[in-house]
């Protein structure tokens, strides 16, 4: 046993196996976790493989020892069965991979999109121009009325957003199964937590149809809420989203460095 644990070749094999087990089986077991997509598994394993190769070859002695079993496998008469096995298994694997490549199974094209497409600098909301750059939630300027706005935002959310974005604001409402991409998960730190409120306002007001083409291929089912909600209702529901999830919106960077006509947005 010790012979194996101290031998770089078997160490390398062992590390790869452990890494695979951890990524594929252990990570999904962690609380609140989920299966790791195949693309990410491949990426992790490739990184680990590179690391392992570096490990076995960064010292000359280890490199030689690492090569021993391989050379032995190729040369030693007593390992003839192993050698034959490798000579059979490797070509078969290659053949299978090649078959997988040429075989004409039709798969759904990958459905990808950029999560945060670039917002326009200005939008027209029900005929009124709203400049998004530097825009803050106007309701936050009335701290006394915040509870009322929040209550209104909650009502708006439950009457409109709930079927898709869900009771827990995690994008798993009872209609979520019918949409692709899945509705945004506001509990995730990658959505509203990363965005300014003006960005969220844009996404709510203009919905899927208002996404720029660079966000393609989108099929966002997000409605154009300006058809349903008033400006104040949208700002209220934004307040509610942040309040309910506990995130704070990204704020605009202070740009008042006086550097002559730039960094202050558009005119």
């Amino acid at each position: 046993m010790r012979r194996y644990t101290e031998h770089p070749f078997w160490q390398a094999v062992g590390i790869l196996l452990v890494a695979y087990v951890v990524v594929v089986w252990v990570v999904p077991l962690l609380p609140g976790s989920a299966i790791v997509p195949k693309s990410v598994v491949l990426q992790y394993m490739a990184t680990v493989l590179v690391g392992v190769l570096i490990y076995v070859s960064d010292s000359e002695e280890r490199w030689q020892r690492f090569k021993e079993p391989i050379t032995a496998m190729l040369v030693e008469p007593r390992l003839r069965p192993v050698r034959s096995g490798v000579l059979v298994v490797v070509p078969v694997l290659v053949g299978l991979v090649a078959y997988g490549q040429v075989q004409t199974t039709v798969a759904a094209p990958p459905n990808l999109r950029s999560i945060h497409p670039a917002p326009p600098t200005e939008i027209t909301f029900r005929g009124k121009a709203i400049s998004l750059t530097g825009l803050e939630n106007p309701l936050r300027q009335h701290p006394d009325s915040l509870p009322a706005y929040l209550a209104d935002g909650k009502r708006v959310y439950y009457q409109n957003c709930l079927p898709c974005h869900g009771d827990h604001l995690d994008g798993q409402g009872h209609f979520a199964s019918g949409f692709n991409p899945l509705p945004a998960n506001f509990q995730d730190n990658g959505t509203i937590a990363q965005l300014t409120e003006s960005f969220v306002f844009w996404r709510i007001a203009k919905g899927g149809p208002g996404l720029p083409r660079e966000g393609t291929p989108w099929n966002s089912a997000m409605p154009k809420w300006e058809d349903f909600l008033t400006e104040r209702e949208i700002w209220s529901v934004i307040l509610f989203l942040y309040d309910q999830t506990g995130w704070t919106p990204r704020t605009w960077e202070k740009t008042g460095t006086g550097d002559g006509g730039r960094g202050t947005g558009h005119d």
């Binding site: 990958p110 990808l112 950029s114 027209t124 029900r126 005929g127 009124k128 720029p212 083409r213 660079e214 393609t216 300006e226 058809d227």
Partner: protein, 270 residues
Amino acid sequence: MWATNAKIVGIVLGTLALYTLIANKIPQVQSEVPQALSLGANVTPEQLVAAGEKVFNGIGGCTTCHGLGTRAPNLLTDETGTGPIGVRCAKREPGKSCKQYLYESLDQPTAYVVAGYQPIMPVMTKQLSPAQVWSVIAFLESQGGTVDVTASDIPSTATTSATSTTATGGAGAAGGAAFAGGSTDPKAIIQAAGCLACHKLEGQGQVIAPDLTHVGSRRDAESIRKKILDPASSIAKGYEKLAGIMPKAFGTMMNAAQLEAVVQFLAGHK
């Protein structure tokens, strides 16, 4: 030595290939470009058709009536067994080619009302630029017919457009910048501008857009003026879906006196 060289070349090519492969495995997204269309001398029919389809579905507002098959003939699909517009356009008026017929029906819509429909279509040559008009014609021709609009049509017909406007509307101001011969009779302007194609006023006209009969009670003069000059500035409740359909060009097609006359006339309709 050659083995070393080969190895180096292999390493370099392999690294490049790996990076290229990875970059090709990830999502391929190309940035969007607003499509500037050169309607110069070398414009292709495909470009015209593509531009025309945008106008037809967008700024031209054509689909408001021609899409539903109730207010106006359906142009893109079969209309009572005569096929889409590209097929039937050449047969509509004896002696007129498809292109001529389409242009004139855009220019003088009331002269070519299809049986069974109301004469509600506005004069499109006033609402769209010549290039847009011709691209719409090209698009309509492409619906089952062959596109024979070329770049040469566009400048030459700009003058045709002006003359035919003169012929219909009397002595038009230079550049066709005034309806009804510059008259300040609001009713005549409203009639000539084709407002009633969408709006209802005093029992006349259509109900696609808000009824103007009591518009004065909803909007003051200032608001009406603004709405005509910039139709997107405010959308009446319940008509949000139709936002953008009202042409933006009315402001430029009326002179100040005419605009004021229309505004006051409408504001008086309480």
